[in-house]
């Protein structure tokens, strides 16, 4: 058993085997429904044929990785511009962030231990 019973959360236990059993049950139901259709239609005629907005997809109109979640990246354009600037690929920048982080941690430690103690 995998307990999920912290204070205020109630006594809950996570049992992944139950979830797997539920998945299997649903899969069996899906297969049964599928078998009710015309014989051979699904398995022979349409098998491994991908469709894009109802049209048969081909190599020409494939959705490339760059186009995935375009809306998300477009909405966060400014964030990504800044992130790309920071991720410059320059070793100097890598070292700058390392030393900068170290300086911050040392200042925080010094302030925490000696100034606020």
């Amino acid at each position: 058993m995998f307990p999920l019973s912290l204070n205020g959360m109630g006594a809950v236990e996570w049992n992944p085997l139950m979830l797997v059993a539920a998945f299997l049950l649903i899969a069996v139901i899906v297969v049964l429904i599928r078998m009710m259709g015309p014989k051979g239609a699904v398995f022979k005629k349409f098998r491994v044929q991908p469709f894009l907005s109802g049209n048969k997809a081909s190599e020409k109109n494939i959705v490339h990785a760059d186009n995935f979640f375009w809306g998300f990246t477009e909405a966060f354009k400014k964030y990504y511009e800044k992130m790309f600037n920071i991720h410059s690929g320059q070793l100097n920048d890598y070292l700058f962030w390392f030393v900068f982080s170290l300086a911050l941690v040392l200042i925080a430690l010094y302030a925490g231990v000696y100034l606020w103690a």
Binding site: W14, S58, A65, F68, H87
Partner: protein, 518 residues
Amino acid sequence: MINEIALHSPALAIAIPLVFAFLLPLLKKWKKLAALMALIGFGAAETMAVLVFKSVLTEGIKVYVMGASSIGQTTPPFMPVPVRIILEIDAFSALMGLAGATIALLAAIYSIKFIKESHVKYYSLLLLMLAGLLGFVFTGDLFNLFVFFEVLSISSIGLIAFWLKRSEAVEAGFKYLTISAVASLFVLFAIGLLYGEHGILNIATISRDMLFYGFAFTDIIALGLLVCAFAMKCGTAPMHFWVPDAYGEAPAAVTAVLAIASLSSVYALLRIAFTVFGPLPHTEIIAYAVIIMGAISLFVGATMSLVQKDLKRLIAYAGVSQTGFILVAFGVGLVAINNVPLQAFGLRAMQGGLFHLINHAFYEALLFLVAGAIIYRAGTKDLNELGGLARQMPLTAVFFLIGAISIAGLPPSNGFASKILIYESIYFFSPLLAVIALISSVIVVVPMVKAFCSAFLGPEIKKFKSVKEVPGSMILAMLVLSIIVIFFGLFPGIMLESIVNPAVNALLNQAAYVGGVL
């Protein structure tokens, strides 16, 4: 005989890969024999790691002293302090060693077909990397921690730049070399400061000194230096920039080992924070620093993963996000463990963090091996060029799906089990932190969907029509990792009770670690 081997297993676990690493170049003319010897070396190291793990779980902390008349003689006659090379292995270090040896063995099996040139050089460096990794997590003194840290880093550099014909690989190797050298200098400087203050390098003795006599100014500087150096080496934002470069260019099997090597830096960070410095007030400041770095890693790793078109860089950024989960969990644990009302949540956070560390090591290794399988057959890792590979490589597609579901933390995967522990515990510490973790986890689903759809789904692409499933040895390595990942996911309770809790208890029990040597 078996008892003798078990008795010396900590030393043998380090010595075997080290000896085999230097033995292999002698067999340069016999490539097949060299590869076989390498596999024997990895297998023997794995056996030793299993023996150490089993022994630690049943008998408690294992101490092994080099050069003494008996392996338990920690202090030489007429000397009050332990000055010899001492290996001290508790449940946490044994678990890290076992995970490292297992992944290295699977990476070696995967490499039989994956690596087509310079077998001897490759396996020698990989064995050296394993020796460094095992020494790093097993050692009980700071100087050897540094030595094995260097062994690990130098062999990693050689393997990152393994494909010398690729300028990107050489560049990644150079970047890793420079940043590792700076980190090593900081670690050495910190160790020098601690030695100057305490006059000894043994972790347990320094820890006892801190407990009884408090800390000095130089100790604080050393703490900051060590934490930052190890945080950088485990790929924590904003010091994570080397991760996509190195992971993206190293051979796939190396990347899998590199991932657990980076996680061993998390081990070192925790060993320093919990065991050397203990739950003193200044470690709380470090804990907050770790939480902030972890939270940044969570978000930056997830969002940067989303815009990658290189499959290995995409996985690497997702890995940065997962390291963030681990750090946030342990940071919260470090703060909450001294705070009585939050103690239960602190313990739960640490259980979640440690479980996630182990889960992350295995599913990230699996994902990188899948990426390697794609590169091996399709010849590219550019997601814009890939597509429809599930037809030709159905097993690889299934393996990717298993890894992707786990890294995304979807039920019923092992990633879900460890993440849910982290969410619920950090929520009581800071609901905002839990929200950041949840959002980041949701975002990680997105690049995984993108990678799966781009590489495996969609219409058949002509140039990949002749592509076949990868050879058996590569399938075997991915299959074993998938089985481990599925097992961890389906039986999280067993994993929690049998391996995670003993490791967390070992990390928290500073007195037991000190008592192991003194």
